[in-house]
């Protein structure tokens, strides 16, 4: 194989970067220079591969060899063995958790077999900082087709026919949204990309922006053409410095190549894109709040109508779409609406990107066809639950969503099924929980978040969520009653019905869904004053099983408050009135004699 075609692709996503990924790239470059290979071999810093647990990831092309958990010190061996001698570095190859045999190529990974990559098509493949790489991978091809062959109405019809629905959470049909914006005539219109990914535990949008920023730019220009707008704005979190940097460089390069700005591709169509920064407010994911934030105001939502499509940014018709929605546009134009509509379920077409995280073996980014089951996602792609524990629940939709349980494992995942199951698609965070997680605490955790993020404009959300949080706090402290459970439910329903925007309308979902699916756990907290998962500190008691205790005194010595007494070689005792439940004794005990009751 000719040497100059060899490429070393190093994942430059945030997870890998945070794991010494930058040093890996630096060392690979140094090794290449030391061997005078720097001009023959291209080092590419790509976007996320989606294998975040296994990072940093290095891929060698051609051959598609994947190396995992690469340390800066491994750079020497990769260059001297693989690059120079063509011998694969066995010890760094990915090992399938089941087969235990090293896998060579990305395609062999079980986690990749069920995936279809549309929005993530170029992530981990192209160098996001080089527009030529994007163009070589069909970047801006759809734009050229649109500008030269299609009328705005044609573009809207294609998107409508494809059945694409908004990927940011609500699932509103994208084509319809574009059509409404198109029909509202105005001298000034705006295309806005919502990249304010605030859902804790979700990193889909950032990965698309970091891995393939041109996909978003191209789609925004296409949208601009379709709705007859000439200005685009990307609203992005300031907490995503890498994504911001890549977007900026992509915008500049697109301008240099005549793909952005005046007279795009010589067709006479003008469109330019600007970046606006968020400043950490979850509510700004809501369209009207986002628009206010872009206008330099507090990000408070307003009543719809008027919808942004009628009166949005600066009072002009504005079309807001999410990053992932935009990332699906170009393939739909190139491959046709029928192709996209052929993937997925009856009412949810195409694929969905999920950020798979929590107590799962393969944490990472996946893109799967709509209609896949939770079982396939968790046990096949995700490699099952960590440490062989038992699956308990999966939270979708973040703080606005709900949990899915064992009985939902075979439910095909799409917009409508998730809503019917008391959860929602949300932006695509999928957090897996195991038997050790207390569902009351999880609900409280999400309420913590909503209380902090509520903008305070409408009282059901501002006051109601606070009260919900207090009730949950009571319950986890063992002060709750059965009547509190009814109160939780009633208040949740009122908040949902009366809140102004999507945040308040969905914030009680985690409470309602855990209450429905894990009522026994709530009851154990209020009637037995016990936390079955052993998470709620106030409800647990450390206890020494005398039959297992050999009297080694290790626990008594480590106890910071002197709550453990006992003679040497005699079973010890914990005094619950002194014990502060720090768990130090349990960690120390080598005989499994200490348990939580």
């Amino acid at each position: 194989m000719p040497r100059e075609k060899m490429q070393i692709i190093v994942c430059g996503g945030t997870s890998c970067n945070g794991n010494n990924g930058e040093a890996v790239i630096d060392n690979i470059r140094l090794e290449l220079e030391a061997n005078a290979l720097e001009n023959d071999i291209r080092v590419v810093r790509s976007g996320c591969f989606g294998l975040c647990t296994m990072g940093p990831i290095v891929k060698i092309m051609p051959g598609d060899t994947i190396y995992t958990k690469v340390t800066p010190d491994d750079a020497h061996e990769i260059v001297s063995e693989h690059i120079m001698k063509g011998r694969k570095v066995e010890r760094l190859l990915y090992k399938d958790p089941e087969g235990k045999k090293p896998l060579t190529t990305e395609k062999e990974l079980t986690s990749h077999k069920k995936q279809i990559r549309i929005a993530l098509r170029n992530c981990g493949i192209i160098n996001p900082e080089n527009i030529e790489d994007a163009i070589a991978h069909k970047g801006y091809e759809a734009l050229a087709t649109v500008l030269t062959e299609l009328k705005p109405q044609d573009v809207i019809r294609i998107i409508k026919d494809s059945g694409l629905r908004g990927r940011g959470g609500g699932g509103f049909p994208t084509g319809l949204k574009w059509e409404i914006a198109y029909k509202n005539k105005s001298d000034e219109k705006y295309v806005v990309c919502n990249a304010d990914e605030g859902d804790p535990g979700a990193f889909m949008d950032r990965s698309v922006l970091e891995g393939d920023p041109h996909a978003v730019l191209e789609a925004m220009i296409i949208c601009g053409y379709a709705i007859e707008a000439h200005n685009g704005l990307i609203y992005i979190r300031a907490e995503y410095p890498l994504a911001v940097a890549r977007l900026k460089s992509a915008i500049q390069q697109a301008r240099d190549y005549g793909l952005l700005g005046k007279d795009i591709l010589g067709t006479g169509f003008d469109f330019d894109i600007d970046i606006r920064y968020g400043a950490g407010a979850f509510v700004c994911g809501e369209e009207t709040a986002l628009i206010h934030s872009m206008e330099g105001l507090r990000g408070e939502p307003t009543v719809k109508p008027p919808f942004p499509a009628e009166s949005g940014f600066r009072g002009k018709p504005t079309n807001v779409n999410n990053v992932e929605t935009f990332a699906c546009i170009s393939p739909i134009i190139l491959k046709g609406a029928a192709w996209f509509a052929g993937i997925g379920t009856e009412k949810s077409k195409g694929t969905k990107v999920f950020a798979l995280a929590g107590k799962i073996n393969n944490v990472g980014l996946i893109e799967v066809p709509m209609g896949i089951t939770l079982r396939e996602v968790i046990f096949e792609i995700g490699g099952g639950i960590r440490k062989g524990k038992k699956f308990k629940a999966a939270q979708t939709g973040g703080p606005s969503g709900g949990c899915l349980t064992e009985k939902h494992l075979d439910l095909p995942i799409d917009f409508d099924n998730l809503t019917a199951a008391g959860s929602m698609m949300g932006s695509g965070g999928l957090i897996v929980m195991d038997e050790d997680d207390c569902m009351v605490s999880v609900a409280k955790f999400f309420l913590d978040f909503t209380v902090e993020e509520s903008c305070g404009k409408c009282s059901p959300c501002r006051i109601g969520n606070k009260r919900l949080h207090e009730l949950l706090e009571h319950i986890t402290k063992g002060k709750g009653t059965l009547a509190d459970l009814d109160r939780l439910k009633n208040m949740s329903l009122v908040i949902k019905d009366t809140s102004l925007c999507g945040l308040g309308q969905s914030s009680p979902n985690p409470v309602l869904s855990t209450l429905t699916n894990f009522r026994d756990e709530y009851e154990a907290h209020v009637t037995l004053k016990k936390c079955p998962a052993g998470k709620c500190k106030d409800l647990m008691e450390y206890f020494i099983i005398s039959a297992n205790c050999v009297g080694c005194t290790a626990c008594a010595r480590v106890c910071p408050v002197g709550a453990i007494t006992g003679e040497r070689k005699e079973p010890h005792l914990i005094n619950p009135s002194i014990c502060i439940k720090c768990g130090a004794c349990m960690e120390k005990c080598k005989f499994d004699a200490i348990i939580i009751q």
């Binding site: 945070g18 975040c52 535990g201 920064y277 400043a279 330099g296 105001l297 944490v363 957090i431 929980m433």
Partner: protein
Amino acid sequence: MSSIKIELRQEDVNKIREICTSFKNDPQELINVLHKCQEHFGYLPAEVQEVISNELVVPVAKVYGVVTFYSFFTMTPKGKHPISICMGTACYVRGAEKVLEEFKKELGLQVGQTSADGKFSLSSLRCVGACGLAPVVMVGDKTYGRVAPDDVRNIIKEYE
């Protein structure tokens, strides 16, 4: 507004004016102006907000309203080594709470506080997007992954 009273030097005022002019003194650019000022000063004391209010011709109450609305803006100076513990859901289910408790105990600080010597400040943040490394702690720009409560003392030691 805030307990900290500072005297702005003329060059500080000039810097703020320069930032405002770079955004054409457009009130709609308030958030961008605040970002740039926080980048420069490290935080946004009341005095800085007053200058911005004058330059953009926006009531100072409105500037304050925006500063306090967004969690990214702060009115207290951060420590030399700002420590942030990710409390995103992925980190939470993998034990971030215990890590945060350990930091609070070791540093004697609550979330949002800065140590008396100005060395450390403690904050929690929502998802840095490195869920593969959960739980995640950031000290300045450096990311620490898979942090256990036992690691906390060693992390702090690196900066002492």
